[in-house]
Amino acid sequence: MTKVYEDHRDALPGPDNITREVLPNGITILARSNFNNPSLTIRGYLISGSLFDPADKLGLSYLTANGLMTGTATNDFQSLYNEIESVGARLGFSAGTLSTSFSAHCLSEDLDLMLSLIADSLRSPTFPEREFNRQKMQMLTGLAIRAQDTNAMAALLFDQTVYAGHPYENPDEGFIETVQNIEREDLIHFYQRTFGPQGLTIAIVGAVEPKRAVDAIKSALGDWQNPAQESLPDLPPLAPITETVRKGISIPGKSQADIVMGCQGPDRLSPDYFPLRIGNNILGEFGMMGRLGKSVREDAGLAYYAYSSLSASLGPGAWEMIAGVNTSNIEQAIDLITDQARQFVAKPVQAEELADSKSNFLGRMPLLLESNGGVAVSLLNIERFNLGLDYFLKYPQMIESVTSDDILESSRKYLDPDKLAIAVAGP
């Protein structure tokens, strides 16, 4: 099933149609044109994130990213948003663990305006006191809402279990008590030491010639320097899970409980990555949520959703199996999911399942790459993980080469049904 892939090969992002340029100050630009629509997408990331947060001020990176657009040397909050919203555009910054990302969407005629606002927010934020206090209160309210969200709390508890003792156990948004510790001066200091052009990557995809996009970015950000910019801290090793650990949190008054269970996973560049991507697809993604969907939803009727997901970036990843069920069905759901995990590492996936899944990975490429946003995200991933501009051209081979033995072997390295992290949040 590579027909559609082959038919579409010339339209895939590749060395012939991606422009890549690295500026002297460390900024990498990726550009690809698409004139089918008058809009364009600008996405990027820089090397700042919650990994830099002090333990007693978790959430600092998150608040800093939120504060970038609250006031700059040339715009106050209202004038900045007025520029954006008046042309129906969108711009936002958000902090993750290893990076802070930005995303903009606009008509191509507004490219220069959007780049000037991105540069303004990145280069000269002033973090006005009043806006800071308001953002902080909004964030505290958000955390109070999170505490009532079974889905979010199960995910948080799972991270604390699977990444115990590692920085990845911390939520990017922090906790109420750590956010309360954060002051405006902390944002300024955090900004000064982590924001800069080194490692900044920008992708522009849409109705603009690549050269024009590159020139516009050079003009907006080419002379940005920050000699004080720090590098990402080294990640410590992660202690393995030695026995099944189950944690629960009670949120009274709710109707449904959420379960997140699973194990540690590989980093994005591990040779286990592709076998596990395909393995995960078979376990809890393919069709109506794979084997887990069949067992928990279709056969047992226990849940509206029961699926799995593999997250892999730099450092350790996680392989999660997730379901939302009535409280009276928690134990049955955990048993069913554990059974599926046990079967998954007991014997190789069937040849038919493997063929189906591979076909899915290749067939969905045109759909994933249909929108400017989808292409921009893919270009950023290519850069972040150094996958090469010919990644999409090599992709079929990487998928096709995975065998059922590869999946079994890789799965057994990570997934042990007797050594699971299990988190439950519900009434």
Binding site: M1, K3, V4, D7, H8, N36, N37, T41, F77, Q78, Y81, I84, E85, S86, V87, G88, A89, R90, G92, H105, C106, L107, R134, M137, Q138, T141, G142, A144, I145, A147, Q148, N151, I251, P252, G253, K254, S255, Q256, G287, M288, R297, E298, G301, L302, A303, Y304, Y305, G324, V325, N326, D356, S359, N360, G363, R364, P366, L367, E370, S371, G373
Partner: protein
């Protein structure tokens, strides 16, 4: 090849909208049925949504699971949605798979099994879906607002249905609903993507032409008298956060007032994206309610919801209350802000800005094929297709006087339900 939409129909009543788009080797195919919670009553509320679930449970030709597999193998996506006025099924697939899409939709239009055992398994799945919704305070508040907002019209029920009804509904209730509403005379087939129109029409005729169609009368849906004064609902639940929803009876989408209210909504709470899939939309930081309430630190967030519906529904203002304030403070601040649009006309510049925003969002909405195909059929559920084509044109004609008149007609206390969700602790 054409950039135009082709409109057609079959003798059995199937309405057809086709649009060739040759930018990617994909098609997006949607079948829309004019049935949703608008057509429901107690004790079978939620029946349309449940029928939608059963449509994935197989036919003789395509047993359950087979299509999941075939479509996933192609890398395609398929899903379905049920709402107030409609139920829709879509596939976005490689273009060469158009035949499969037509074949499966024609088949399940009439041949779904509704196996009793599958019905029972799906009962618990849907109750689980509902319980997931019940975990969200905004769902509980929205449900109470809908119930208070209508005395006669079925818009008073949540699409997912009352829990009591989900527990007791029978297989025959479901099958009867399916047999009544699923036929070509009550359906719109909309396809956008990489195909040739005439060849696609031939395929459609082959797939759907032999299915008998009937046109359904719309007289079964009761009208709703005007509201006789402000109504209030209050919900107490878990958490530390209070929410306010203020819902005004709104015009239907085919009413020209709908466009004035769209402009008004844009001024009050920011422009709304037309997109169902993919990127789009903008923020609402410069909107009037954001400036007055969020910057004023009375609320921590706000958004408006104006929905295009067949019959007059609700336009709602939704606010999350600032921890240092009360729902009453929020209501007062909203009323203070509304007073400005009720007292005097807004400026032409503000209307022009709202229209520019709408144009940008409109451009984003055509960025991918699934969105384009969505719009091909969606508007038929509450108006005619030209509603979409004339959308910007209608907005452009809105005057300051229209906005003032619309505000005075709809945004009055007598025409609304005010709902508060407050933490249980503060109720004691």
């Amino acid at each position: 090849m054409t950039d135009q939409t082709h409109f057609d129909s079959l003798p059995n009543g199937l309405t057809i909208h086709l649009k060739e788009i040759h930018t990617a080797p994909l098609i997006s195919s949607w079948v829309w049925y004019k049935v949703g919670s608008r057509n429901e009553r107690r004790p079978t509320t939620g029946v349309s949504h449940w029928v939608e679930h059963m449509q994935f449970k197989g036919t003789e030709k395509y047993p359950a699971g087979q299509l999941d597999r075939e479509i996933s193998r192609m890398g395609g996506v398929w899903n379905a949605m049920t709402y107030l006025d409609w139920t829709t099924y879509f596939q976005t697939l490689p273009a060469y798979a158009a035949d499969l899409s037509l074949s499966l939709e024609a088949d399940r239009m009439v041949n779904s099994r509704f196996d009793p055992q599958e019905v029972e398994l799906e009962r618990t799945v849907i109750i689980s879906e509902r319980e997931g919704n019940e975990n969200q305070p905004q769902f509980l508040l929205g449900e109470a607002i809908q119930a208070a907002g209508f005395d006669q019209h079925p818009y008073q029920y949540e699409v997912i249905g009352e829990k009591e009804d989900l527990k007791t509904m029978s297989r025959d209730d479901l099958y009867g609903h399916y047999k009544r509403y699923y036929n070509p005379g009550n359906a719109v087939l909309a396809i956008a993507g990489d195909f040739e129109t005439q060849a696609m029409l031939d395929k459609i005729t082959e797939a759907f032409g032999a299915i008998p169609g009937t046109t359904l009368s719309d007289s079964e849906v009761p009208g709703e008298p005007p509201m006789d004064g402000e109504r209030r609902v209050s919900i107490a639940g878990p958490g530390q956060t209070s929410y306010v929803q203020i819902a005004y009876r709104a015009p239907s989408a085919s009413d020209l007032d709908f466009f004035s209210l769209t402009v008004l909504d844009s001024l009050l709470t920011g422009p709304s994206s037309l997109n169902m899939f993919g990127s789009g939309g903008t923020t609402n930081k410069t909107s009037r309610l954001y400036r007055a309430l969020v910057e004023g630190e009375i609320a921590v967030s706000c958004f408006g919801a104006l929905q295009a519906t067949h019959d007059p529904y609700l336009y709602s203002l939704n606010l999350t209350v600032h921890p240092h304030h009360t729902p009453d403070d929020v209501l007062q601040a909203v009323d203070d802000e509304l007073k400005k649009v009720l007292d005097s006309p807004v400026s032409s510049d503000q209307i022009a800005r709202a229209i520019k925003q709408a144009k940008a969002l409109f451009a984003y909405s055509s960025e991918n094929i699934s969105n384009q195909a969505f719009w091909l059929g969606y508007t038929e559920m509450f108006a005619e297709y030209d509603w979409f084509e004339n959308y910007i044109n209608h907005l452009s004609k809105v005057t300051p006087e229209d906005v003032l008149r619309t505000a005075r007609e709809y945004l009055t206390p007598e025409n609304r339900v005010v709902g508060f969700y407050t933490p249980e602790e503060s109720q004691n």
